[in-house]
Structures are given as structure tokens and as C-alpha cells.
């Protein structure tokens, strides 16, 4: 087994385990305890934890700082970086800093548009797009060069991730764009939350037909539906999200105090199914302010204990 980086996620995936990643959104403030509180629930339960980068374009504690806090707790951070807020000079600089501090797994994203957040008046950088960011990190690592061409002393070795949304439009482009991310150098992919299992199966079939699962590790994104309200919100208000009617109905038909339980049950069934889908190398569990439930969910989904590699 040849490893390209020190990433724990890489080790788990290359050893052939069904990987599990989690997520922690940094706080809207400078209290490290707020990070620790959320992250504590995930210690020992996931192979890596995504640390979001000002998601929904709201100012939050920086992803690298929250990543370091998580690292000090024994978690493996998946350092997220969006193209919205920094140009390629700042990006490369942050990547060097992150690697210097021991981060070795990162996720390259476009980022939500500033109009979604609380700084809609901000400049919207996009010097690079997410695919060009993947290429740049790949070049820093494999060629040992900055994008400008100069040599890097001690090039960063990052296990490079990218996101994919199987449900965005146009559907026929979804796998083609995934292929571009893989060609750009993505080692692993984490998908948007999946609720439409049939459409996800179709997507995976197309990806497998193209042989993409042999060139990258695809982790299926899942988020527990906590209530019928949340299911309806996800179904109608979140761009690029696909929640089929029967899923909304299933959660809504449970009595109010049982809806959360039903959501977790549905999620565990999904994970069970996902294990059987060709090309799915693991799951990415985005609990969204429900971090304390993660151990219980993963236990119920038979994802624990995590492999020691």
C-alpha cells in the first residue's frame, strides 16, 4: 500500500475500509471551547472531520485555526478551503501554513455566494475555481512548485478532496464535472447530502462506468433529518438539494416527538444501502449542529469502532 501523504483518511481508504468522515462548523466567535465542545463528540468516531470554511458565506473562525484545535484533540481535520474569499497567493500561503502545522487533508470548494451570508457587500474573489484549486494543490505537491513556477522548499503533501453534487443541474453534467475534478487531481470526493437514493444510484453507475471509482474515493454525503420542518426546508429552500416527496412524507408521518428518531432510522438504512453500491468508498456525515448525536448514529449504522491503521 503506497501512501502519498500522512493523512489518516488516506490510510483508511487505501486499506479498503468503508470510511467515515464528520463535520464541524467553526463558531461565530473566538472561543476555542465552542470548537472543542462540538468536536469532542467526534473523537474516535470518524476517520477525518471536515472543518468548514465560512459556510453559507457567514464569517466564522478560520478553518485552519479550528482545524488545529481539532487536531490537538486527536481528530484528523479535513481542512476546507473555498475560492470565494482568497486569491491564489493567499491560498498557497494558507496551505503552506496548514501543512507546517501538521494538516494533511484538505477539501477544495467553490464556496457559497456572498449573497447567502451576512456580508453580501463583500467582494467575491474567485481568482481560481475549485477545479483550478485542485490543480494548484496537486502541482504544489507533485511538482514542488508554486503556481507562479518557483520551487517550494518542503512542498506540502495534502490528501486532496473535492465536493460533488449529484443533484445539481444539468444532471448529465454531474458525472462529467466529477471526471474533471478527478482529472485535476482529486484523491477523494465528498458528495452533497443524499436523500434521493435512486438518483444517487444512477449517478454512481455513471461514475463507475467511467471508471472514476478506480481513480478516486467517493464518499456519500448524508445528513440526518431532524424533523418534518427540516425535511421540507431542505426539499424547497436549499439550492441543488433533492429530497423526494416520499422521504418528506415518511418523516412527517411520524409523531412529532418521534420524527428525529425516524430521521436517524432512514439515515441508517441509507448507509446500509450505500455500502452495497459499487464505487462508494465511505460516507460523509454532516450532522449540522447535531454533533452530539453522531456517536449514536454511527453505532446504529454499524460504523463503529473505526479502524486503527
Amino acid at each position: 500500500m503506497e501512501l502519498k501523504t500522512d493523512s489518516n483518511l488516506e490510510k483508511v481508504l487505501r486499506a479498503g475500509h468503508f470510511a467515515v468522515t464528520g463535520e464541524v462548523g467553526p463558531p461565530r466567535g473566538s472561543d476555542p471551547e465552542a470548537v472543542r465542545e462540538k468536536a469532542a463528540h467526534l473523537v474516535g468516531k470518524v476517520d477525518a472531520v471536515n472543518i468548514t470554511d465560512c459556510q453559507t458565506a457567514m464569517v466564522r473562525m478560520s478553518s485552519w485555526a479550528a482545524s488545529l484545535i481539532c487536531k490537538s484533540m486527536g481528530l484528523e481535520p479535513n481542512y476546507q478551503m473555498v475560492c470565494r474569499d482568497r486569491n491564489r497567493i493567499a491560498m498557497q500561503s494558507d496551505i503552506l501554513g496548514a501543512y507546517a502545522m501538521g494538516l494533511n487533508t484538505m477539501l477544495c470548494l467553490s464556496g457559497d455566494h456572498p449573497s447567502f451570508g451576512d456580508h453580501p457587500m463583500a467582494s467575491n474573489v474567485h481568482d481560481l475555481d475549485s477545479i483550478q484549486l485542485i490543480q494548484m494543490v496537486r502541482g504544489m505537491m507533485d511538482d514542488g512548485k508554486f503556481q507562479g513556477g518557483a520551487e517550494i522548499k518542503r512542498p506540502p503533501k495534502m490528501f486532496i478532496g473535492a465536493a460533488a453534487n449529484p443533484f445539481g443541474d444539468p444532471f448529465e453534467l454531474r458525472v462529467l464535472r466529477l471526471a474533471k475534478k478527478v482529472a485535476a487531481g482529486a484523491d477523494f470526493i465528498q458528495t452533497q447530502c443524499i436523500y434521493n437514493m435512486q438518483k444517487f444510484r444512477d449517478y454512481m453507475k455513471m461514475a463507475v462506468d467511467k471508471g472514476l471509482h478506480e481513480k478516486t474515493y467517493i464518499l456519500a454525503g448524508v445528513t440526518p433529518l431532524k424533523s418534518a420542518g427540516m425535511a421540507k426546508y431542505m426539499a424547497t429552500k436549499v439550492p441543488g438539494m433533492d429530497v423526494p416527496d416520499d422521504v418528506v412524507k415518511r418523516i412527517a408521518s411520524a409523531p412529532k416527538e418521534k420524527q428525529a428518531e425516524e430521521g436517524i432510522k432512514f439515515l441508517c438504512e441509507q448507509i446500509e444501502e450505500m455500502r452495497e453500491i459499487e464505487g462508494v468508498a465511505g460516507i460523509h456525515l454532516m450532522a449540522i449542529e447535531w454533533e452530539h448525536k453522531v456517536p449514536e448514529i454511527l453505532e446504529q449504522a454499524k460504523c463503529l469502532p473505526r479502524p486503527q491503521v
Binding site: R88, G111, S130, D169, G240
Partner: protein, 222 residues
């Protein structure tokens, strides 16, 4: 063309307030086509200003003039003999016109009457939409003639992002997703192969990021 929208009358009055005699100066090019600062709009603004000041008991003398092209020194020169009689010039041209006046008549105050918006095209009567950001290195050949810089909200070169939904952009259901349009065009052209190639990181030097730009045509220099 360059599109513009007239500024609110309250803002304009703040600029004009200190003066007794102003020249309201239109332009016969883009701002005429987009109904922001041509001869007709000069007339409308002149009447509106006179009335508004009259209501406040103030009298401002306003002369109206529309130049063929306010961004061209040849036409701006026409003001040389008359400009001294005005306390200020109120330009209804785009920012380029305003600056041509400011550059030629160094001691004359000049005020913008319009907000210059974007380089765009008319979609239908009364509707203009952004089409080009003057990035200096056009990629339309690879994107089916649809510009990802001006028309994708994140100027993504390898789109669409995950937010594209039903042909619309994630920022607003009234905004078309540029990458849906690009894809539809590439399909219609039988050139979907163009999509599969990764568009490399852009060299933004050719755009505004490289500093203010200039074109020098040696063959045309007098």
C-alpha cells in the same frame, strides 16, 4: 455597449446646490441607446432639476448640450470656447465621458449624473443585461459564445457549481445559470468535447488586476 442608470435626483441636487449656472452635458452614444444620458434625458433632467430647485426657492441656470461622443477628445474640444461661463459641468455620459471632461478642463468641476453599470446587450425593450467584463483574453470560443466571467456569479471556468438548479443560478431564481446556457449551446453545436477539457487558471493580468489598461496602436499614432 456601456449601460448606465441616472442617479437619484436627491443625490444630483446635492452636487448642483452650490452653483448658479451649470452645463448639463449628454452623450450621443451608449447612454443614448440605453435611455440614460442622451439628448432626451438631458432635457428631462434639466426640467426636473429646475422645478425641484424652484420649489426650494433657489434658481439655477441650466444649459443643455449633447456631444456626439464624450469619451473622445475631438468632440470634447467643442466646449473649449463656452465652458468658462459655467460654474460646473454635470455629465450624463458614462464614467469614461466624465473623465474625459475632467482631464481636458482641469479647473472645471464635473459631476456624474449617471451610475455606469456594465457592458451589456439589450435583451428586449427596456431590459439590458451584462455580457462582458472586459477580461482582456476572451474565452468565448471555448464556451459556446456565453461568457463565464460576466455571466456566472462565481466566474467559474469549469462549471457549473453545485447550486445550479433548473437552469437558474443559486443566487437568484431570476438569474440564468451561465453554465446551463454554455452546456445547452455546446450540445446544440455538437461540441460537448470542449466541456471535458479543464480550462486552466486564468491570467488576470489581462484584466483589471494587472493595473489600468491601455491600448496603443502604433499604426494609428499621428
Amino acid at each position: 455597449m456601456i449601460t448606465a442608470e441616472r442617479k437619484p435626483i436627491e443625490e444630483i441636487m446635492e452636487y448642483v446646490k452650490p452653483y448658479k449656472k451649470i452645463l448639463l452635458l449628454g452623450c450621443n452614444e451608449c447612454v443614448t441607446v440605453c435611455y440614460a444620458g442622451g439628448r432626451k434625458e438631458v432635457g428631462i433632467l434639466a426640467s426636473a432639476l429646475s422645478m425641484a430647485f424652484l420649489k426650494q426657492g433657489q434658481k439655477v441656470e441650466i444649459d443643455e448640450l449633447t456631444l456626439e461622443r464624450q469619451c473622445d477628445p475631438e468632440y470634447v474640444e467643442e466646449l473649449a470656447r463656452t465652458i468658462q461661463q459655467y460654474d460646473a459641468v454635470c455629465s450624463m455620459a458614462c464614467g469614461c465621458g466624465v473623465q474625459t471632461i475632467a482631464g481636458r478642463y482641469k479647473d472645471k468641476p464635473v459631476y456624474p449624473m449617471v451610475n455606469t453599470k456594465f457592458m451589456g446587450a439589450s435583451e428586449r425593450q427596456g431590459v439590458w443585461a451584462e455580457r462582458c467584463q472586459g477580461c482582456g483574453d476572451c474565452v468565448l470560443a471555448f464556451t459556446g459564445g456565453i461568457c463565464p466571467v460576466a455571466r456566472c456569479s462565481k466566474r467559474i471556468f469549469n462549471g457549473p457549481c453545485g447550486g445550479s438548479s433548473g437552469g437558474k443560478c443559486e443566487i437568484d431564481p431570476n438569474v440564468d445559470c451561465a453554465w446551463q446556457l454554455i452546456w445547452d449551446r455546446l450540445k446544440a453545436l455538437g461540441r460537448t468535447d470542449l466541456y471535458e477539457r479543464i480550462m486552466p487558471a486564468k491570467d488576470w493580468r489581462a484584466a483589471r488586476d494587472g493595473g489600468p489598461r491601455k491600448i496603443v496602436r502604433e499604426d494609428l499614432l499621428a
